[in-house]
Amino acid sequence: MSTQVAVVLSVLLFPGGLFALTLGLALKGMDRRVAARLQGRVGPPLTQPFIDLVKLAFKRTMVPTTACEPVFLGAPLVGVVSMLTAAALVPISGLYTPEPVLGNLLVVLYLLVVPGVVLMVAGSSSSSPYGAIGFSREMVLMLAYEGPIVLVAAAVALRVGMAEGHIATFSLAEIVAYQRTHGMFLLDPVMWPAVGAFCLFFPANLGIVPFDIPEAETEVLEGPVLEYSGPALGLFKVMSALKAVVVLGLGIALFAPLDLTGAPAFLGWLAEIVVLMVLGVTAVRLSAGRMRIDQAFSFFFKWPLLLSAASVAAIALA
């Protein structure tokens, strides 16, 4: 299989594209089901997100008269594309190594910015004041968590890079390969603060409680997506589902790749994703209340930043 074909397939089918889409929606379904069970409800079937998507596809599209229509409708499309692609950039230990031409950790990090931007542009372009507030909050949150995540990435890059003889490496393949031979970073005390910082980052990045501030239903009526309906709203749901796959997959690649190959590798990876989804997303969102945006902003300037900086300092000074 030539490289070009591999690249195209990785984006269209696996692990990006269709596979990521299916996995993401399934995880969503699982999330809703588990949450319902924990709350003593029955909950929807696992396939509910798929059903929702089909339902939305045939709903009418609503566009506010004062909205900027091409941007309003185009924004979610861009978000989905970015996440479908990003999913192909995250390696699965022992199973999938992305082609270098697709991009490294830095590209993934910046692709992860795109959904946020899409939400902001969507909220802003909808001309709804709730959308505008959501836009503002999303940007504040992004400014807040960007520092920690950059330092987390730096910690990993420096850790691997220094060990491999070049100062830093952002190659996810290399990062995974290093951990396969030297043990995962989850077990490395130097990296614990960074792991902690990442754990605080991803709820914010995924926009779940306690950091679902931009879309807070009870405050700003889902903010940026308030005005969306029909297929466009469906795209937002897809984007959000895909983003969970990318962020969780990235977390696994950065800190906990399993040293397996073949089918066990795939199953192991799936298990990790599911566990992370349940523990890191479902459990968290059920057990916490929402922060205010100013609290979240100063929170990220305290703990996650300190944690990630601690890891970086420990690595750089070693």
Binding site: V7, V11, G17, A57, F58, K59, T61, M62, V63, P64, T65, T66, C68, P70, V71, L73, L77, V81, S82, L84, P100, V101, L102, G103, N104, L106, V107, Y110, L111, V113, V117, M120, V121, S124, S127, S128, P129, Y130, A132, F135, S136, V140, M142, L143, A144, V150, A157, L158, G161, H166, I167, A168, F170, E227, G230, P231, I293, F297, S298, A316
Partner: protein, 1289 residues
Amino acid sequence: MFPLEIHLDHFIGEMAVFAMTTLDPMSLAWMGAVFLLFGEIAALLSIAHPVRVLIVSTVAELGYVLIGLGVGGAAGETGAFMHIGFQLAMRGLVVFAGWMLILRVGSTRLEDLAGSGRRMPVTATLFGFGMFSVMGLSPFKGTYSKFLILYAAIEQGHWAIAAVGTVASIVAAVYYMVLIQRICFEAPARRIALRPVPKGLMAITSVLAVAAAAMSLFPAPLQTLAETLAGVVGGAGVPHFESPWSPLVLVPYIGGFALYALGRFSPRARDAGAVVLALSTFALVFASPDLDPTSRLFALVFAGIICVMVIYSIGYMAKVEWGNRYYFFTFLMTGSMLGLTTAREFGDFYVFWELMTWTSYFLVIHEQTRKALNAGLIYFLMCASGAYVMHFGILMAHAEVGSFAFSAIAQNVDAIAPGIGLAIMACLFVGFAVKAGLVPFHAWLPIAHPQAPSSASGPLSSILTKAGMLGIVKILFGVFGLGALTRFAVAGVDLRTVLLGLGCVTLLYGEIQALRQRELKRMLAYSTLAQVGEIAAILGLGTALATDAALLHVTNHALMKTLLFYAAGAFILRTGLRYIDDLAGLGRVMPFTAGVYALASVAIMGLPPFSGFISKFLMIYAAAMAGSYLVAGILLAGSVIGVVYYTRVISTLFFKPYTGQTSVGQAAVREAPASMLVAMGVLAALIVVGGIAPQFQLALVAPVGDAIAARSGLAPAVLPDLIMAWPASAALTMIGAIAVLFVGRFSVPWSGRLAVAVPVAAIVAVLAQSGRYDLLSLSFALLIAGVGALNMLHATSYLAHNHAQPRFYAVFLVMIAGLLGMTAAPDLFNFFAFWELMSAWALWAAIIHEETDEARREGFKYFLFNTVGASFLFLGVTMLAAKAGTFEFAGLKAALASLPVAVILPPIALVLLGLVMKAAMLPARIDYQMHPAAAPTPVSGYISAVLLKSGPWAILKLFVVFGGAGLFVRLGGQIGGEIGGQPAILTVISVIAGITMVYAGAMAVVQNSIKLVLIYSTVCQLGYVLLALSFGTSLGVAAGLMHFVNHMLLKDTLFLVAGAVMVRTHATLLDELGGLGKRMPITFGIFLFAGLSLSGLPPLNGFASKWMIFEAAFSSGHWLLGAAAMISSMFTLAAVLKFAHAAFMGQPTAKALDASEAPAPMLVAMGVLVVASLAVGLMPGLLLVPIAAIEAQLGLTPIAATLTGPLPGLDGWSPTILTLLMLVLGLLLVPWLRLGRSAGVVRGPAHLCGVADLSADRERLPAAELFESPNGVIKTLLLPGNPGPGKRI
């Protein structure tokens, strides 16, 4: 008759013998001296009673005779007898003329006699003639009996007596001048009925006048008689003072008398005659074969300026009284000044020196107002006193050497003892310094120059002060020699050092005083002081090169200052207003005059492409060559001050609204008369020629330096090649700028079209001469011209309703010309010259084009900051060339390689400082260093996108010149070591760039002004570029260069969008906008693309270069800076989205309601830029392939690059592949969006929870209310107390 004479001779002889035998001769001399001094003081004290003054002063005059007889000797006795003879005739004239005045007025009191000049012009003139003659001055040769007597005293060692005589002369000058002025020139205070006088009195007076004139003209008979009386045989022992006058003196002199006579019949014939006479004099000077180089240079300047003065005067003096007298004294002054140049001995020199003062005095007081008379009095007294001191020195020199001849003194100078030598030179120096106006001898200058008619103010400032310089160069340097100057030192202080010190003090004093003036001509006079100080300081360096430089500036200052005064004179003539603030907007009604005023101002600020730049450059270079960095620094500091007050006037003339104010009646102000325009035009042309082709002036100046060097046994100067090497592209653009102005007079739209065509043609010119460039510069040059054409196209729409479009297009083109010239520079001189052309006056004029208060204020601040930055660069460049001995890049590289690090580090650090300042790095006072928002938007975009890139470009270009990586390794090895494998000096730049990047990025987020958001973001992005370049690695430089171009394309797009928005809405703040997205959809799309790309969203081109920067940072060990760069890109994102939200989304504001899509030319300009960005995004190789070649030329390992291949770096990704894949995915998903269409699209109001009565304003979330928490943090951290830029938030 003979017996009588013998008898008389016998009698006087007997008297003398009697006096000498009965009295100790020295007691007699001392008695005379005391008598003289007290007599003069007594006369001065009785000034209110003219009769008493005359009596006392006549008696005091006997003191001279006593001194002469007392000290004895051939000279003393001859002098004493001659003095009696002179005084008999001249005092007689004074007495009889005065008697007539008193009789006619009927009073002896000065108050009554005052103003007699208007009542009785002839008698008063005769009286004045007599008075001046008694003082030793007249249009003819002065009396020199006094000269002889004092000489005798010095010759025989009686210094003190001579000194007393000199002081007495100074005291006498005071009351003589007061009497002359009050009686002859002052306006009468009241009417007095004149009484008749006996007819015979007039006859006697006339006879005495003729006698006095005859004695002055032909003193030989009287001298022979005196010698006979003194018993001197054949003149032995009596010094020989003068030689016959040269034709250079006689022609204007006799011509002056002829013109006076002619003028009594026909003023028009007189004017024509004056022009002919001036031109003939100039021709005569030009053809004069026997002048030494110094004299020739000064004579040409003197005669040339007089030609211009005469032409100017035709218009200026047309309606002024006393025109005949004006031309008369003008030509007498010319003759005297030329006499200085032809003088070969001190006698002549002194006579002409005095005549020069005397004749120019009449020009100062020409208008005869009280102020003018006062100024004239101070002028005359100071200069005459200086001359008396000089006179004393001359006599001492003769006593030492036994001759007045320059050649004799030059031969014997080594025999003079240091103490006496210093005294002689100090006396001469005082005379020269007073004339030149050096502090502390300057008091007259700022008073006298503005009071003269403007036609004379110019030459007074421009050439009369230069007579002092002539004295210093011709006499001190040429006759005595630099060796003597150094040898004659007391306690280690010699005159050269004094000259240098006084020069620096004068320079700073003049600049600071000029800064404080509100009256135009006074400001110019103080500026003359500063320029004279500059020249003196450089002369004081005492090298051949410094002499060349100073004299070149003498010639340039003569042209520039004359022009400035002449333009000021034209303003005064047409408006009657003398204060700077009153000149607002005159550029509109007097475009030519104001234009040449601006030209001369720019030239005198030392900016190219005018002659002032060349001489300033040479002066700074000479200072650097002499190792006097302090002097160079003071010169540069002075010019920074100069920038302040010169720009103030230009700004008032052109960039303020015209008020129509005049004080000369109701007539509308119009352009000056033709003859004045011709005079000014000639000067302006010479200034331009001097800037573009200085070789003609240098050919005049260079022999002087060589002669001075030869005289003192120094090495001759090696003049650098100071001719700006204009590449075709720059020359074309510059000519285009002039053509645009010209076409603009007929058709504004066509001038705009031409302005767009010129940079397009420049692209062709760059390509045609591609051999002149290295690849880096070639690429930059093409971008300069290309983006220039686009922004100019945009500007034609942006300024469609502006009143002075051609002016804007022209200065914009000059900026482009500067940039183009800079990229093609083959040496440091050209690099710096074009750098100044690019970043100084044209930039300033473009920025303040909108003529608002804010524009003027902010534009000025930026100009000042640029001047300071350029000054560092200036010093660095000249120091480097001085150390290396060449300006050529190739030679420089070779030379620097062999020089020790400690020698080359300071200049390199200065150069880098200048370049880093250009890129607005290190935010100390960001409100100064950032280009101002008030500029017309297309030029803001150009500055941000292109012009500021000259900093990073130059760093790379000079990196190679300085020896590439090798030199920095050497630097790093010796200074501060290496930090993380990078030399310390580069680490400093990295850190500065990193701080700026974060700081400016954060500041961009909190702005509310449309353009400040973009400008802060520019500073931030320049930080990225510089950061990457400073890593010095292959990847870092490639990343920096790629971002260099990406930012150029993207930021320019954003500015052009902002321009389109501003044109369509007339808003300046984001909060005034909203909802434009629906009204300007294409513009919005372009903004969103460029903004998001600049923020670094993959897979766009802006992300590709940022990705490389991050990689380069981490891989070179600067992970902290890398992380900072990553975080800062979030700031950019926040700023871009804030802009997008506030301007384009939501409910429209009142200002946005009627907006429509941007005009076609704007869309074309923006579209081209977007297409370029897209192309780069899809095929990064478009940039990376040339960048790899550039790196190879720079001596770095080139990155691996192909057209569509992956980015360089450890694990480079492929923008081509990623972009295509995402495009495909996007296209696949589009049908999904269409699915719902079958069910229809519903359009309705946005959901507001049922609230239906919110106004559009309430429904909108304004820009200022976005991002509250980070805003608060940023403002608290970066804007404590909200200073400067905070106010506009």
